[in-house]
């Protein structure tokens, strides 16, 4: 996945195209990617979460870039699959912003989230 980001930054789109899993390779809009690499200044890749389960993997990441004098970011939860020892991009869920953050409510008698070891009601929840 990092190699795919690096390939975008370096304009090496052959690498991006050949690391698409066969079922999504035809969906890659290479023409748009070719145009994009000339217009975008890449600002960074942040991997938020990565999981691996046998030959299945998933990576949640955010990319930041600058286009038309605007700082933009894009978030994606991407699926990867290993075929003959090589990881391939197999699709994902993209959004222009971050997915909603789920707030977990701490019960009054649960351990406090500050890590003190006290009950929430005796600590930060007091």
């Amino acid at each position: 996945m990092r190699s795919r980001y690096s390939a975008f930054v370096l304009g090496k789109l052959d690498h991006v195209e050949r690391t698409h899993a066969p079922e999504v390779r035809g969906d890659f809009n290479r023409a748009e990617a070719e145009r994009t690499i000339g217009e975008v200044e890449w600002l960074g890749l942040e991997v938020r979460r990565a999981r691996e389960d046998g030959d299945q993997g998933s990576v949640e990441f955010a990319i930041r870039f600058r286009r038309n004098d605007q700082d933009l970011s894009q978030y994606e939860a991407a699926d990867f699959r290993r075929i003959d020892g090589q990881w391939y991009y197999a699709g994902g869920k993209t959004s222009a912003s971050h997915p909603p953050v789920h707030v977990v409510k701490t019960g009054r008698n649960d351990p406090c989230h500050c890590g003190s070891g006290k009950k929430f009601k005796k600590c930060c929840g007091a």
Binding site: D27, A31, E34, R35
Partner: protein, 250 residues
Amino acid sequence: MERRFRCTACGKCCFGQIPLTLGEMLDHSGRFPLAMVWRAVPKGTRAYALTERLGTPTRIQKTRTVAVSIVPTAYLPPSMACPELTPEGQCGIHDGKPLRCRTMPFYPFRDASDQAELLRPRQGWLCDIGETAPVVYRDGTIVDSHDFDVERKALLAQSDAMRTYFDYVVRYMPWVLDNLPATIGNQEGGVVTSLSSFLTACKPVDTKAIAARQQLVMERFAAKTADIEGLEAYHRNFAGWAKEMAYLAS
């Protein structure tokens, strides 16, 4: 109730975007800069049932059900005349002009019974709706509906291709849906997606030839819109799309 209408060939409706059918989009690919224009029609409004047949029902903003129409479009700025409008104000391709131009002022994206308000000339248009103009609409029925029927039929015939494209965009460009609420009730508005995304999703057999023709058209329109105040976004699109077409043509 009878409504009268006669076109005076004032040329005022020959400016800005021209909705095309899918077949026309490909036929005219050497003529117009092409893009796909998305609009949402909310459930509960008059045009909903028809838009659902022509397009795709979906949910936006979690709770709002809308029908989405995607229209292949000659993507011209509102201030720009059709490239085929002659200096004499006539249509340069009259015999082969798009169905949308033929059917004017009727509009088959709305029910035949819902056309009355389209017969009122828009501001600045010189349509004749006086006593001597022929009756074209009577009791919610179009008197001569030939062009309307042909255009409607073409729109229905392309609905499967548009659904394929809709699914592609939802999967790979979901932010397009996020921008749809702004198009509701806004006749002029619409979310624009590129021809390259449509060609990638639907893969017409003659993609390469279409792209080669579009590359030249896009370059022409990028030049036409360069350094014109208010058209910066159009210019950027044309220039960028020209590069995309150059790749697809190669």
